[in-house]
C-alpha cells in the first residue's frame, strides 16, 4: 500500500494563489491603457484654464512660446495630418486591395510567396528607416521637379508604403475567410472568376476590407518619425503636393524637448486630440469586424 504524503501546500490553495496573482497581473495589463490616456488627459487639462480654447481653431499661426504675442492655431497641423493621411490612403488602399486580390484570386506559384514574404518583412521595417530613405533618396528626386522636395508628396509616398502591408494583410484575411464552397458553387454554375470576385467576394468582404483601410488610416494619423523626416515641418496649410507641411504628431516630437508651461500643456492637448481621433476609429473597426463575422 502506498502512503500518499500530504506534506505540501494544499493544491487548491496554490491554485487560488496563482489565480489571484495572474488576475492581478491582468488588471495591471488592462489598466495600462487607462494610465496612458489618463496621464495625457491630466497633463492637458490646464489648457482649459490657461487659454481661451477656441483659439486653437481661430488663431491662424502657431507661436505658443512667444512671450508677448503667443498664438495657438492648431488648424494647419490638423489639416496637414488629414491631408497626408488622405493622400497616402488614396494610392495605398487601392494598391493594397489589389495585391490582396492577386494573392487570393490570381495566385502565381512564382510571385505569391515572394509577395507574401515581402509584405511580412515590409510590415517590420521601422518608420525611421522609411523616413531616412525618404529623406536621402525620395526628397532629392522630388526636389529635382520642384524644390524643396520635403513635401506633401514625399510624406504621402512614405506613409503609404508604411501602411500598405497592413491593408494587404487585413484584406487578404477578409477574402480568405470566404467559404471555399462559395467559389466552387460559383464555378459550378458557370460564374467566371471576375464575376465572382466583383459580385460575390468583394461585397461579402466589404466589412473586412474597410476595416483594413481604417486600420491603415489610424496608423497613418499616428505615424511620427517617417513623416517628420520628409515633410519639411513648416507650419502651414500646404497649397500643393510640393509644399512642405507639419502634422500634429511631428509637432509634438519637434517641440516637446523644449516646451514649457502653456506650450507644453498644448502639446499634451494635441496628444489627447490624437487619441480622440484614433479611439473612435478603433470602435468603427471593431464593429466592422463583428459585422463581418456575423455576416
Amino acid at each position: 500500500m502506498i502512503l500518499w504524503s500530504s506534506n505540501r501546500l494544499s493544491p487548491s490553495r496554490t491554485d487560488m494563489l496563482l489565480r489571484r496573482s495572474l488576475g492581478l497581473l491582468t488588471c495591471l495589463a488592462a489598466s495600462v491603457v487607462v494610465f496612458v490616456i489618463g496621464f495625457v488627459l491630466v497633463e492637458s487639462l490646464p489648457a482649459f484654464s490657461e487659454i481661451e480654447l477656441s483659439r486653437i481653431i481661430s488663431d491662424d499661426t502657431w507661436h505658443p512660446a512667444d512671450p508677448d504675442n503667443a498664438t495657438f492655431g492648431l488648424i494647419p497641423m490638423l489639416v496637414g495630418s488629414f491631408l497626408v493621411t488622405f493622400c497616402a490612403l488614396l494610392w495605398a488602399a487601392p494598391l493594397g486591395i489589389s495585391i490582396a486580390i492577386a494573392n487570393e484570386f490570381y495566385p502565381s506559384r512564382f510571385m505569391s510567396p515572394i509577395v507574401r514574404r515581402t509584405t511580412e518583412i515590409m510590415a517590420g521595417i521601422p518608420s525611421i528607416v522609411f523616413g531616412f530613405w525618404g529623406l536621402t533618396t525620395l526628397v532629392p528626386l522630388i526636389a529635382n521637379i520642384q524644390a524643396p522636395g520635403q513635401s506633401l508628396l514625399a510624406g504621402s509616398i512614405v506613409l503609404g508604403m508604411m501602411i500598405l502591408p497592413t491593408i494587404v494583410l487585413t484584406t487578404e484575411q477578409a477574402l480568405h475567410s470566404l467559404p471555399n464552397e462559395l467559389a466552387i458553387a460559383a464555378a459550378a454554375t458557370g460564374v467566371g472568376r471576375f464575376a465572382f470576385l466583383w459580385h460575390v467576394a468583394l461585397p461579402t468582404c466589404r466589412g473586412g476590407i474597410l476595416s483594413g483601410v481604417v486600420l491603415g488610416l489610424a496608423r497613418a494619423i499616428g505615424e511620427t518619425m517617417a513623416v517628420l523626416m520628409v515633410s519639411g515641418n513648416i507650419v502651414q496649410i500646404p497649397g500643393s503636393l510640393f509644399d512642405p507641411f507639419r502634422t500634429i504628431t511631428t509637432n509634438i516630437a519637434l517641440e516637446m524637448g523644449y516646451a514649457t508651461q502653456t506650450h507644453r500643456t498644448l502639446l499634451f492637448l494635441t496628444a489627447a486630440i490624437l487619441i480622440a481621433m484614433v479611439v473612435p476609429l478603433m470602435a468603427v473597426m471593431q464593429s466592422l469586424n463583428t459585422e463581418q463575422s456575423h455576416g
Binding site: 502506498i2 500518499w4 500530504s6 505540501r8 494544499s10 493544491p11
Partner: protein, 257 residues
C-alpha cells in the same frame, strides 16, 4: 436492484448545463471490484455521468450538480471533500488518448510527483504501471522519447497506465476503445478485464458486444422527460437475458436506439 457491497452509491443526481438538464433523478449503485458497463444511445448523459464521478464537471463553468454520490463514506459532491484526493482515488481514461506532450516516462511520473511521491517511488510505480498494461517491453528502451510518437493503441494503454500508477480504487473509462482499430481494441479490452481483480471499473461503451463480453454489471441510460437517466440496472447477464423495460429490450436486441 441492489448489489453486494457497492463502492459508489448515486442518489437523486441531477446535472444541468445552464438551462439544459442533462441528467435527472439518477439513482445507481456500482458494485466493488466488478466491471460496470454504462450503455444507451448517444446524448443521454453517460459521459456527463462519468465526469461527475470525479468532479470533472467542475471544469465546465455553467454546470450545476445536485444530489449525492457516496464513494465508500465520502460524499464526492460535498464542498468539503478533497478534490485532488477524489481524483486520485477515481481515475479516468477518455475516448481519445490524451498523452501529455512530454516523454513517456514523464507522462507517468508527473501526476505522481504532483501527489507528493518521492522520486525513487515514482519510477518504481511508473515501471509497474507500464508492466500492468503490457507496455513495458514495447517502450522500455525509449522511456525518454515523446509519448506522441506511440501508436494509437499504445497511447491509450499509456493513458490507462498513467491512471493506474496512482493506484485508484475506481477506474472510469469513457469509450476507451472506440477510437482504436479492432486489434488494439482487443488488447485494451483484455487489459480492462485483467484489472477487475484490483479495482472497480466503470466503462461507457456503445459496443453492446463488448459490454456483453466484459461487463458483470450493467446500467442502461435513456432519455426520460427531456433528461438522461438510468432506466434499468443489474447483473449484465440477467439484463441481457431478460430486461424489464420495453425500450431496454428493444435497445439490447438492436431494434432501437
Amino acid at each position: 436492484m441492489t448489489c453486494d457491497s457497492p463502492i459508489i452509491r448515486v442518489n437523486q443526481l441531477e446535472v444541468t448545463y445552464g438551462e439544459q438538464v442533462a441528467l435527472r433523478d439518477l439513482t445507481l449503485e456500482i458494485p466493488q471490484r466488478q466491471i460496470t458497463a454504462l450503455v444507451g444511445p448517444s446524448g443521454c448523459g453517460k459521459s456527463t455521468f462519468l465526469n461527475t464521478l470525479n468532479r470533472l464537471t467542475d471544469l465546465l463553468p455553467d454546470c450545476k450538480v445536485s444530489g449525492s454520490i457516496q464513494l465508500n463514506d465520502v460524499d464526492i459532491l460535498s464542498a468539503e471533500c478533497d478534490l485532488y484526493e477524489i481524483r486520485r482515488r477515481v481515475g479516468m481514461v477518455f475516448q481519445k488518448a490524451v498523452p501529455f506532450p512530454l516523454s513517456i516516462e514523464k507522462n507517468l511520473t508527473l501526476p505522481l510527483s504532483e501527489h507528493g511521491l518521492p522520486r525513487s517511488e515514482q519510477q518504481k510505480l511508473a515501471q509497474q504501471a507500464l508492466k500492468d498494461v503490457g507496455l513495458w517491453d514495447e517502450v522500455k528502451d525509449r522511456l525518454k522519447k515523446p509519448a506522441m510518437n506511440l501508436s494509437g493503441g499504445q497511447q491509450q494503454r499509456l493513458c490507462i497506465a498513467r491512471a493506474l500508477a496512482l493506484n485508484p480504487e475506481v477506474l472510469l473509462l469513457d469509450e476507451p476503445c472506440s477510437a482504436l482499430d479492432p486489434i488494439a481494441s482487443r488488447v485494451v479490452e483484455n487489459l480492462i478485464v485483467s484489472l477487475r481483480k484490483r479495482m472497480t471499473i466503470v466503462i461507457v461503451t456503445h459496443n453492446l458486444a463488448q459490454a456483453k463480453r466484459i461487463a458483470n454489471h450493467m446500467a442502461i441510460f435513456w432519455i426520460r422527460n427531456g433528461a438522461g437517466t438510468v432506466i434499468e440496472q443489474g447483473p449484465a447477464a440477467a439484463l441481457f437475458l431478460n430486461p424489464r423495460e420495453a425500450v431496454a429490450q428493444e435497445y439490447l436486441s438492436g431494434t432501437c436506439g
